[in-house]
Symmetry: C2
Subunit: 325 residues, 2 copies
């Protein structure tokens, strides 16, 4: 009850575009609070208006500077912008990304821009789920553009890119990564390629490699353009904004109802699986019964799961709202 009231009051403030309420709702999602399901159900009808842009690329490609420049352009056009930065807490790149983040503070005082980092530390499976739900919150809040930035080095990060309408893959010339990108199938997820730091040697060669890759995969449909930018010098950004707009137009002119149905079905299964996992974790956290036997090593986890699934009443009790009944 107390939780219901808290949620209700936060939602009322959320609807008046209260940024503190938004921040607290995001924190609920991050912490996997029990009321997340109810929250998402309530805000769901308000979603679907934002354009979601995913930006990924290796550490040091200048993604955050690029995001900074994009924010400035969209703000100048009167758009509300939100950024969700997936901080990989990667053992081998964590530091650099943290440094990048600081540069985004240019826009921290602008009330039309909302920036949030989501740390992956310690949240193994839950990250893409949390990211998806936070994006929905940012969408329902009334943002026109939502940028999701990842370092794109792990599967979790790649799965976050599934959320985006338009996926931008940022590369730099010296990486010599053109071929790698193709091998790894990144050309399949990129709607737009950006060669940043385009003043450096090799930019044109990388552009040509990427264009060749795009050409090879192309049957019909959208042709991923390769844009040259120098984010630090604010160069090439307008053309990138135009390319994003063009891709958005392309999507609205080429609806894919089969794909949308598939996405909705997949989302349902993901939400259900997450809910079942969270419910069993909470219920089993109290110990006793089967989990007690497993904990003491008297029963192996696979046998325990088989027994639990065979006992419909026990399973339903475990997953229901009132564990005690």
């Amino acid at each position: 009850m107390a939780n219901d009231q808290r949620l209700h009051s936060l939602l009322q403030r959320f609807e008046t575009r209260d940024r503190t309420a938004l921040a607290r709702l995001i924190t609920l999602v991050e912490n996997r609070a029990p009321e997340v399901g109810a929250l998402m159900e309530l805000i769901y009808p308000k979603t679907g208006n934002a354009h979601i842009v995913g930006i990924t690329g290796p550490p040091g490609a200048g993604k955050s500077t690029l995001v900074n420049r994009l924010i400035a352009r969209y703000r100048a056009a009167g758009k509300r912008v939100a950024v969700l930065a997936i901080d990989p807490s990667s053992p081998f790149s964590g530091g650099a990304v943290l440094g990048d983040r600081v540069r985004m503070t240019d826009h921290y005082r602008d009330s039309g821009v909302y920036i949030r980092s989501l740390s992956t530390r310690g949240s193994h499976g839950g990250l893409s789920r949390a990211a998806r739900e936070i994006v929905k919150l940012l969408d329902a809040f009334g943002n026109d553009l939502i940028i999701v930035e990842t370092v794109g080095v792990g599967q979790t990060e790649l799965s976050v890119m599934d959320l985006a309408h338009t996926t931008i893959v940022v590369m730099v010339p010296e990486g010599g990564d053109g071929i790698q990108v193709m091998k790894a199938g990144l050309n399949e997820i990129a709607d737009i390629f950006v060669v940043n730091k385009a003043d450096r040697e090799g930019a044109d060669r990388l552009k040509a490699e990427l264009e060749m890759g795009v050409h090879l995969r192309q049957a019909a449909g959208w042709n991923a353009p390769v844009m040259l930018t120098q984010a630090v010098a604010d160069s090439g950004i307008e053309a990138l904004v135009a390319a994003i707009g063009k891709h958005r137009d392309y999507l609205s002119q080429h609806p894919d109802p089969a794909r949308e149905r598939e996405q909705r079905a997949r989302e349902f299964i993901q939400v259900l699986a997450a809910e079942l996992e969270e419910r069993s974790t909470r219920a089993l956290g109290n110990g006793g019964g089967l989990i007690g036997e497993v904990r003491e090593g008297r029963l192996n986890p696979y046998s325990a799961v088989r027994r639990l699934i065979a006992d419909r009443a026990a399973l339903a009790r475990l997953l229901s709202d009132n564990a005690e009944d």
Copy 2:
């Protein structure tokens, strides 16, 4: 029934150490076949004998060469060795790891060595689950040592390291990553540090940094040693094997029953969550009912999940073995 028979016959061959049967059982796990639960339950009692060594580190640190050298030492000592290489299919390192893999073929013809790659491509959440189950198969097969190698750049890869009894973090001098490693909390998961390519400049400084980090975290218990190796020249490998043995002895002399109970309980919840997810995916894949409404956009996924959970009978039907009853 046909599946039961196939499983039974594979298990009979598995028990005679038939490598083809092992490979086919691993494939079942990789493909999330419905009989995986039954398989794991059957082999579970045979597990618990292998020592599981996790090896992680950045691309290019020489992990695969190191693994190659370790295999040679353990084989010379008459041990059965298995390697599970988690291939990250990372957009920014995929190629290099693929190249490394080839070098491990030294041992492909030795029947006491079993090497398997597990690709992360397309298996977002399921990777750590599959890795855990494959390690159990390799354990039940009678391997003495199981090496799990990852590139350790994503959360999925880090969670795989949870499986290991002994976790080895491999670094190279030029990375200058000593401080990064500390920041990222890698010093908390490392039981042994390896500074590979130790002939290069900066090896001693990196060793000193790592030792300082180990010293700072240390309250009581195991002190992670920092080993210098040159895997290419087969140098420092014997000392590393000795360090692994020492850590294994330490673990057996310092049992931690509370931690073991916790691990068993966590494994139960993970297995249960995975089983529930797979069952709902299969049941819902048939379409109709709630998922049909979600697919057509008439019902949002969160409302559908709430309804399903509220309807105990429907939920139990969905998760039971016979979806039609």
